[in-house]
Amino acid sequence: MLAQLIVSGLAVGACYALLALAMVIIYKTSEVLNFAQGEMAMLSTFVAFTLLDAYHVPFHWAALLTFLFAILLGIFFEVVFLRQAKDPTVLGLIIITLGFEMILMGFAGWKWGPDQRSFPFPVSNIETYNFHGLVISKINFWTIVVSLALMFVLFLFFRYTKLGTAMRATQQNPIAARVMGIRTKRILSFTWALSSLIGAVAGMLIAALGILDPPMMMDPLLKGFAAGVLGGMTSLPGTAIGGAILGIIENLFGGYVSLAFKSVVAFAIIVLMLCIKPSGLLARHYVKKV
């Protein structure tokens, strides 16, 4: 049972990690916590569902079109909502993301209705791989693979590309970045687009693992946030580690201590980390000099 709990924990942790990753990208660039992340992912997943279910678009095309939609959604939110904020403070921007979350939730409820749906996905969520008695469903296995691959690509992107460096520079010192010729507004739009894209991947995987309905991202988003805090809100590898640890701890706690308090563990971890090591496991703590 122990090994099975760990494997299941890793799989669910991969989803948390993906959402944490999407949040961390925004946070690294603008220090804004995007509370609309979950609903942006949900909306993109509903677009994929419509393409697959109503228009019978082949999955790979539906996925590509959904990713395009997610990119445009991210840019739209940044340009139409956030950029228009007058004398924006971080708190003000966070409130805007909360407002956007409500708008998206209401829109999804109006457009697709409250009924739950099963999300058509090419990988079965019932068929399993069996590694010497350790059972992992195909969808869980591929969720882990996709998450790790995405994180690796993003790590390379931030480390070795000009655009990635520009994004880091914008986060660390926007004025200096502008002086150095970086178009910080474009960087911000790109950041939101990238974050929305990763959210869409997470949303499609989470819907395939469970069911698709407007509130589907509420719980995963909170857990993703907890994973981000645990690993470090400015560290990409930290999100992977944070997600995995959180998924495993949750499962072990549920399996051996109490199922009733399984969901609470994530929040206990947030409180604990903020008290002991606010920067998270892998992030460095930046102290701004005044």
Binding site: M1, Q4, L5, S8, G9, A11, V12, M105, G106, G109, P114, D115, Q116, R117, S118, N125, I126, T128, V135, S137, N140, I206, L209, G210, I211, D213, P214, P215, M216, M218, D219, P220, E250, N251, G254, G255, L259, A260, K262, S263
Partner: protein
């Protein structure tokens, strides 16, 4: 001078009284005018329990049918539906809106134990008739309330009898329970344990889920490790779908059984990708394709008035929860007040629409306010249709 003043004052008083009379008479019965009867219902149109929100929309269909047929005693029904998102705080606010702003005659239906409990005492204090809360818990009949009539079969009795069906008819001796960690789920557990205690055995495992949980892999493992041959679930549709997927992933395939709260087989088959097949379900209303004359009539009206809605159990349950209420309104006659309606409801004896037989009486014992006491069992086929296993069974004595 004094005479003149007295005369003037008497005149003013008379005019005031004359002016007051129609106002008082118009206000005499809240929510009832010469041409209309105002009723309200809350239900989750958004949020995790949203599939149950179809109930409130089903009631809307019945209201429209009644209005199309000319209303009741010359009055049309005006229906107010509000979304509480399954959040008790919102329900309380909606109940206040119904009474203080809209001024409804009665509340019909209303999904959710916790939601309903925030409104129960308020509605009763204001003498607002409330018919058919959409949950089968004791909270509606204890303490007994003059203006509150329950319809839904009690979860406790339903679970008791369902366990008996699994144990005695189908021979399952190792039974586990998967339930929602609130009053709804716990009253299901109560019935299952009550039955097993009678047989001097215990549940082999009892696994609960919180409303917001989305990862049920640990829950599935616990159920599998229990070795249960049959698992009774008392949850909302989301958790039912998730637990079936998780148990399927780890190759655990017990006989599942569940309450009528999950009896919308078409929906459940769709969201479980077919894993719902084989489920033993209790039902408290006719099956969707039933040839019962009322079902045929309602399906026809549904096509005309609400073709956008899916004809599923959750949807037409909204009709089941409202039919006896309107029968009471009919029997109360033109002089409709909360008192005459209550008297009329107490005359219902084995009255049946498309739901269970309904009986009420003067409020002497809690069971006098518990209308629905019957269910029947069915098994879901691979194509999503239901094989009816029994006739109506009385589960509450």
């Amino acid at each position: 001078m004094v005479k003149k003043s007295l005369f003037l004052m008497s005149g003013l008083l008379f005019i005031t009284l004359l002016w007051m009379v129609p106002l008082v008479s118009a206000q005499a019965v809240r929510g009832v005018t010469d041409t209309e009867i105002l009723i309200g219902q809350w239900g989750p149109q958004t949020g995790p329990a949203a599939p149950w929100g179809a109930v409130a929309r089903g009631t809307d269909l019945l209201v429209r049918i009644i209005n199309e047929e000319g209303g009741i005693h010359g009055r049309k029904i005006k229906y107010f539906l509000r979304d509480d998102s399954y959040q008790p705080a919102k329900t309380k606010a909606i109940a206040k809106e119904f009474v203080e702003q809209i001024g409804v005659f009665a509340v019909v239906g209303g999904v959710g134990v916790a939601c309903g409990m925030t409104a129960r005492d308020y509605l009763m204090e204001n003498k607002v008739p409330w018919y058919g809360p959409v949950t089968g818990v004791y909270n509606w009949i204890t303490p007994i309330q003059k203006y509150l009539f329950a319809l839904y079969p009690l979860y406790d009795d339903e679970a008791f009898n369902l366990t008996g069906y699994l144990y005695e008819k189908l021979g399952y001796k190792k039974i586990a329970m998967f339930y929602q960690n609130d009053d709804y789920g716990k009253q299901g557990v109560m019935g299952v344990e009550r039955y097993l205690l009678k047989k001097k055995i215990k549940l082999v495992e009892k696994v609960s889920a919180e409303v917001t949980d989305r990862d049920l892999s640990t829950h599935a493992l616990k159920l599998k490790n229990s070795g249960a041959e049959a698992v009774i679930m008392w949850t909302m549709p989301t958790h039912a779908a998730l637990i079936l997927a998780e148990t399927a992933k780890i190759g655990y395939k017990p006989q599942w059984a569940t309450s009528n709260t999950l009896s919308d087989s078409a929906l459940m088959m769709q969201i479980t990708k077919g894993l719902w097949a084989g489920m033993i379900n209790s039902f408290f209303g006719e099956l969707p394709d039933s040839n019962h004359p009322l079902m045929v009539k309602y399906r026809e009206w549904h096509k005309k008035l609400a073709p956008q809605e899916r004809w599923g159990v959750f949807y037409y349950a909204g009709i089941i929860f409202a039919e006896p209420f309107f029968e009471g309104v009919r029997r109360a006659g033109r002089n409709l007040t909360p008192e005459t309606w209550v008297k009329a409801m107490e005359t219902l004896k084995n009255w049946q629409g498309i739901g269970p037989p309904v009986t009420y009486g003067p409020p002497n014992t809690p069971m006098d306010r518990q209308g629905g006491k019957h269910v029947f069992y069915g098994k879901v086929r691979a194509d999503g249709s239901v094989e009816r296993l029994t006739d109506w069974i009385q589960i509450t004595k």
